[in-house]
Symmetry: C2
Subunit: 211 residues, 2 copies
């Protein structure tokens, strides 16, 4: 892997994450090599796109022989930064927070929930799997002690910006928010928002404008 | 609104959905006009991008006067196809399905959950808000009767492709899947996948490659 250019489009990273899933499936089935065409078909894209996405990060595979499945898995994991586990805190133990705390897809990809927080006394002390919900007032001291790298916010919209400010002040540089609210963070913090309604709106658009 | 070109990038639709959220906030605060610069600042983009996104769909706003908040809300709702409600079924009443069934953001945007399904006898008959979980075997007859336009799949990965095939055969043309599995659908079906792990992987990438 060589140093990638400064601005890789998010769509490229998203496709790499998808290729990684398919490669892991191929590996589980005992397949040792894969062509860009096979990867493209699984991902609903073109082989030229697969080759272009990978070319940002180095030279992979051999002309006419395709990619070694194991090698390409290792390379994409390195590109995405998944060779080591990432400690994550979940803030908000409502329905979405609870679903995420038990989402198997996180731990299998190396994202380890090291803490879960809520300010509701009825929720503090509840257990989700092996995680006990702690008082949100403990957040700053816990962040200082356990250094989670990513905070997942599952708090109500009206509490979301205040919580972004708190975790940023405590030193967290990556935030994933499920609150349907516009949020601001400093330039050196990566802030992503997942909005379930937006996903449905994109479908509504495609249904409305279908031929 | 004029007829948009055949291929509008998903990122454009995603931004329109975001602008709509900000516009509704502006309206709630009593603001009657907004500049492309204000919309751009809220959305973390540029005013040129705001004007370009809107220009695909017609001519909005007046030079020097900005956009009328109410008018632009109506126009974007029309573009996204949100002037009428969309009936939605949720398939899978596990943790994510249950969280989505009670997600207020859906109904406030016009997405109405008209049915919820599971094949687990322990879940059939359970109520989430006003929705009772029905036997997944009833799915085809219910789709024929109630004509949901969008199916949200919250089933395990190994069941996901089979369920896609079933709802497609029953006539559903838009699917949102939360299963972390590669899925295929015919070209005339819009299939979107939300993968929580991918969202964290994009953050891991940005943390790994931060200056």
């Amino acid at each position: 892997m060589h140093l990638p250019p400064k601005h890789i489009a998010e769509s490229t990273i998203r496709r790499l994450s998808l290729y990684l899933r398919f490669l892991e499936e191929f590996e589980a089935r005992g397949q040792t090599t894969v062509s860009s065409g096979e990867l493209a078909r699984s991902g609903g894209t073109t082989s030229a796109q697969v080759r272009k996405d990978l070319s940002f990060f180095g030279s992979f595979g051999k002309r006419g022989l395709g990619y070694g499945v194991k090698d390409l898995i290792a390379s994409i994991r390195e590109i995405l930064g998944l060779e080591h586990p990432w400690p994550v805190v979940i803030i908000g133990a409502g329905k979405i927070g609870a679903a995420l705390a038990q989402y198997r897809g996180f731990s299998t990809r190396g994202f380890h929930v090291v803490g879960m927080y809520d300010s509701d006394p009825a929720k503090i002390g509840t257990m989700f799997g092996t995680i006990t919900v702690r008082d949100a007032r403990e957040l700053e001291q816990d962040i200082a002690a356990r250094a989670p790298r990513i905070a997942v916010l599952c708090v109500p919209s009206e509490a979301a910006q205040g919580m972004v400010d708190r975790v940023v002040a405590a030193g967290v540089k990556a935030i994933l928010s499920f609150a349907p609210a516009p949020l601001q963070a400093p330039d050196d913090v990566s802030l992503r928002a997942v909005n379930m309604a937006t996903e449905l709106e994109i479908l509504a658009y495609s249904l409305t404008h279908a031929k």
